[in-house]
C-alpha cells in the first residue's frame, strides 16, 4: 500500500458537497495507475490528469495540489476531469488563497483545503464575486451570452 500523501478531512475548510467526506489513503497519479484499489489520488502540477480517465469510476476523491498559487495547471486538470464526467470530490490543496476561490469553483473544485486557513468572511465574499459569468466552464452556470439569447 502506498503512503497516504493527502489532506485529512479536518483540513478541509470549504466543501460544497452533501455526501460523506472520504478519509481514504491518497496516492500519487503513478501509484493510482498501478494500483487497482486506490480511491483517492493527488495530482501535482506536472501530472497529466488524463492518465486518470480510465479510473474515474472508482475514484471518490481527487486532490489537486497548488504548491504555488500562480501555477495555473491545476485549473486545466480540474476541468479535464469534470469534462470527462468525474463526479467525485475535487479538492484544491496547497497555496490556495481567497482570490483563487471563485475561478477554482468554476473549474469544478468543490472542496478546499488551503495550507493557511482563510478568513471566512473574505472567502464568502470571494465565492460570490461574480453574479454572472462570460465563459462556459465546469460548473454548468448559464453564461451571460446564454442569458442574452434565451427565448
Amino acid at each position: 500500500m502506498a503512503e497516504d500523501i493527502g489532506t485529512s478531512p479536518d483540513e478541509v475548510q470549504f466543501r460544497f458537497r452533501e455526501d460523506e467526506i472520504v478519509d481514504h489513503g491518497t496516492v500519487t497519479v503513478d501509484a493510482c495507475c498501478d494500483q487497482t484499489n486506490a480511491t483517492a489520488v493527488r495530482i501535482e502540477p506536472g501530472d497529466d490528469a488524463r492518465l486518470l480517465l480510465p479510473f474515474l469510476d472508482r475514484l471518490a476523491l481527487v486532490e489537486i495540489n497548488f504548491p504555488a498559487f500562480n501555477d495555473g495547471r491545476g485549473y486545466s486538470a480540474a476541468r479535464i476531469l469534470r469534462e470527462a464526467g468525474y463526479t467525485g470530490e475535487l479538492r484544491a490543496v496547497g497555496d490556495v488563497g481567497v482570490d483563487q476561490l471563485s475561478h477554482m469553483r468554476r473549474c469544478g473544485f468543490d472542496s478546499f483545503a488551503p495550507d493557511k486557513r482563510l478568513d471566512e468572511e473574505d472567502a464568502a465574499r470571494a465565492f460570490a464575486t461574480w453574479a454572472n459569468v462570460y465563459q462556459r466552464a465546469a460548473d454548468a452556470r448559464r453564461t451571460i451570452a446564454d442569458k442574452r439569447h434565451e427565448a
Binding site: G72, S102, C107, D122, Y134, Q135, R136, A137, H149
Partner: protein
C-alpha cells in the same frame, strides 16, 4: 461601436469592488506584497522606477469622445496632466498613487472602461487593425470577433495563471497593421467561397513574439469555421496552460513551447483538444456574434467631394502623409500624429485629448482609434471636412505630417520610467526625429519605420523596425545596437544586427549613414526596407564600420 449592456457593466463594477477589497486586505496585512502583486497586475497596476503606473485597456483600440474625455480628466486629476499611448493600443499613466487606483477604476467604469488584464500572466487586451471598420481593403470588420474574444478572455477561470502573459491580435485584411504575427496568437478573419457567397472563418497563427527571443508565428490552422472560433482559441490556450514552461520565466511564452515542440506537434495537440472541446460545448451561442456585430454597423456615410483643395502645401502634405483610403470614397481615415519632432512618442496632454475628442464628435461619428504606432486616428472623416480637421489639429500641435516616416518612431518608456530598462529610449527618439525634421530628410526618405527599445524585452518593437535600435548596458554606459530589415506588417521579418553598438551620438550618426546608403542605392519606388532586402546588409556595414 460596442456598448455595454447591464451584464457587461456589472462585470466591470464587480471588478472594481473586488479590487477595492483586495487593496483593503493588502492594507490590513491579510495579503503579502507577493500575493497582492499578481492581483494588482491583473488590474493594470505596475510598480515602476518612480511611482505606480496604471495601464488602461482600450479594447481593439476603439473609443468614443466621452471615453477620451475621461482619460483626459484622469490625467489631470490623478497624474501630471498627460498620458502615454502604447503599442498595444492602451494608455498608461506613469505617476499614479496606489491609494487612488480603485477610484480611478471606478471613474473608468462610469464610461465603460477598465484596466482588466492589462498586465499579469493572463490573456491581455485584444488588439486589432486601427483602420478596422474603415479600411477599403478589409474583408470584414474584425472588431466583433475581437469583442467576442474580449468577453471570453475576461476573468477566464482556467487561464488566469498562465505560464506568462498572453497577447492576441485579430485582423481581417491581407494588410497587417497590428503586428499580428508577432503575437502569442494572431488571428486573421477570412472568407472562403461557398454556395451562399462566402463563409467566414479564422486563420490562427501561434507562437509569435518579440522579447529576447523574437519569433514569427507560424500558421497552425488556415480556416476555423467561425462557429468554432472561441473553442479553437480555448484549445490553443489549454495546451499552452498545461505544457508551457514554468521553470524559467524567460522561456515561458508560448513561442518557446511552439518552437520546442515544433509547430506540427503543437498543432496536433491543439487539434486533439479542439475535437474534445467541441464535444464539451464551450462556444457562445451563435446569436451572440450577430448581437455584437450589430454594434459595429457602418455609420450613415453620405456622398460628397472626393478631392481636396491642395493650394495650401502644408495641408496637402498632411493629406498625403496622414490619411488612409476609406471604404467609402467620400471619406478617409485621418492619422493624428503623437510624434511631433522632438516630442515623446505616444504622449498626449489632457488638453490635446480633449481637442481630439471634440473633433471625433464633430467629424468622425464620435469614434476614435489608438494605433499600435502610438498615434491616434479619426476613422471616418469626410474629405469635405479634412481642412477644418487639419486646422484644428495644427493649432493643437497635432498635425505633424509624418505617419510611417522616420519621425513616426515607436519607443518604449525606457530608463526614464521603466525598472527593467538598461538605457533611455525617449531622448534618443526625440533627438532623431528632431535631426531628421531639421535637415528636411524625413520627406526625402519616405516610409521608414524606426523602433527603439531600452532593453531586450523589446517593448519598442526593435526587432520589427526597418531600423531597430536596442539600448543595452555596457559596463555601466548606455550603448545602442543597430539592426536593419525588420517588419511588423504583412511582409513580416526580423531585423538583423549590423555589428558593434554605438553611444548615443554614434547611433544617431549611424542612422543617418544608413539612410545615406539607402538614398544612394534605391531604385524607383523602393522603400528603405525594399532596398535593404535587395542589396543586403553588406553596403550598410561598409558605410558604418568600413
Amino acid at each position: 461601436m460596442y456598448k455595454y449592456d447591464l451584464y457587461d457593466q456589472a462585470m466591470v463594477d464587480a471588478r472594481v469592488a473586488e479590487f477595492r477589497d483586495q487593496a483593503r486586505r493588502r492594507l490590513e496585512g491579510k495579503l503579502t506584497e507577493d500575493q497582492f502583486k499578481p492581483l494588482r497586475l491583473m488590474n493594470g497596476l505596475y510598480l515602476q522606477l518612480h511611482a505606480y503606473m496604471l495601464r488602461v485597456a482600450i479594447p481593439y483600440g476603439t473609443l468614443d469622445s466621452r471615453q477620451l474625455e475621461m482619460l483626459a480628466d484622469i490625467a489631470e486629476r490623478y497624474d501630471r496632466g498627460y498620458g502615454h499611448f502604447t503599442t498595444r493600443q492602451n494608455i498608461q499613466y506613469n505617476w499614479i498613487r496606489l491609494e487612488d487606483a480603485a477610484d480611478i477604476l471606478a471613474d473608468l467604469a462610469k464610461v465603460e472602461m477598465h484596466a482588466i488584464q492589462t498586465s499579469g500572466n493572463c490573456i491581455r487586451n485584444i488588439s486589432s487593425d486601427h483602420f478596422a471598420g474603415a479600411a477599403a481593403d478589409e474583408v470584414v470588420d474584425p472588431r466583433p470577433y475581437a469583442e467576442l474574444m474580449r468577453q471570453w478572455s475576461s476573468f477566464h477561470p482556467e487561464f488566469t495563471y498562465l505560464p506568462r502573459k498572453f497577447k492576441i491580435a485579430v485582423i481581417a485584411s491581407d494588410k497587417d497593421r497590428a503586428a499580428m504575427r508577432l503575437h502569442d496568437i494572431g488571428v486573421r478573419i477570412v472568407k472562403r467561397a461557398n454556395d451562399s457567397g462566402g463563409e467566414v472563418g479564422a486563420q490562427f497563427y501561434a507562437g509569435g513574439g518579440m522579447g529576447r527571443t523574437p519569433m514569427i508565428a507560424p500558421l497552425i490552422r488556415d480556416f476555423v469555421p467561425i462557429e468554432h472560433f472561441i473553442t479553437y482559441a480555448e484549445a490553443c490556450l489549454r495546451v499552452y496552460n498545461r505544457y508551457g514552461r514554468r521553470d524559467n520565466k524567460y522561456k515561458a511564452r508560448i513561442k518557446i513551447l511552439v518552437h520546442e515542440l515544433g509547430a506540427a506537434e503543437y498543432t496536433r495537440q491543439v487539434e486533439e483538444e479542439f475535437a474534445h472541446l467541441l464535444s464539451v460545448g464551450v462556444e457562445p451561442p451563435r446569436e451572440e456574434l450577430a448581437r455584437i456585430a450589430a454594434h459595429f454597423a457602418d455609420p450613415a456615410f453620405i456622398d460628397g467631394p472626393k478631392t481636396v483643395d491642395r493650394s495650401d502645401p502644408d495641408f496637402a502634405l498632411w493629406v498625403d502623409r496622414n490619411t488612409h483610403r476609406h471604404k467609402h470614397d467620400a471619406y478617409v481615415s485621418a492619422v493624428i500624429s503623437l510624434k511631433p519632432a522632438g516630442g515623446i512618442p505616444g504622449d498626449a496632454t489632457a488638453e490635446q485629448m480633449r481637442v481630439v475628442a471634440r473633433l471625433a464628435k464633430q467629424y468622425s461619428f464620435d469614434e476614435l482609434r489608438v494605433m499600435h504606432t502610438q498615434n491616434l486616428l479619426l476613422p471616418h472623416v469626410r474629405i469635405a471636412d479634412l481642412h477644418a480637421v487639419w486646422s484644428a489639429l495644427d493649432a493643437a500641435g497635432l498635425a505633424a505630417p509624418n505617419m510611417d516616416t522616420i519621425e513616426d518612431i515607436i519607443a518604449c518608456p525606457g530608463l526614464d520610467y521603466c525598472s527593467l530598462a538598461n538605457a533611455r529610449s525617449i531622448p534618443l527618439a526625440q533627438r532623431i526625429s528632431e535631426r531628421f525634421a531639421e535637415t528636411g530628410r524625413t520627406e526625402v526618405v519616405g516610409e521608414l519605420k524606426l523602433k527603439i527599445s531600452g532593453c531586450i524585452n523589446a517593448c519598442g518593437h526593435h526587432h520589427a523596425g526597418h531600423i531597430g535600435i536596442l539600448g543595452v548596458d555596457k559596463k555601466g554606459v548606455e550603448n545602442y545596437q543597430l539592426s536593419l530589415g525588420g517588419s511588423e506588417a504583412e511582409d513580416v521579418s526580423l531585423a538583423k544586427i549590423t555589428g558593434p553598438g554605438f553611444d548615443e551620438d554614434g547611433v544617431i550618426a549611424a542612422v543617418e549613414k544608413v539612410t545615406d546608403v539607402y538614398l544612394a542605392s534605391r531604385a524607383e519606388g523602393e522603400r528603405f526596407l525594399d532596398t535593404y532586402r535587395r542589396i543586403g546588409m553588406e553596403p550598410f556595414k561598409e558605410a558604418l564600420y568600413g
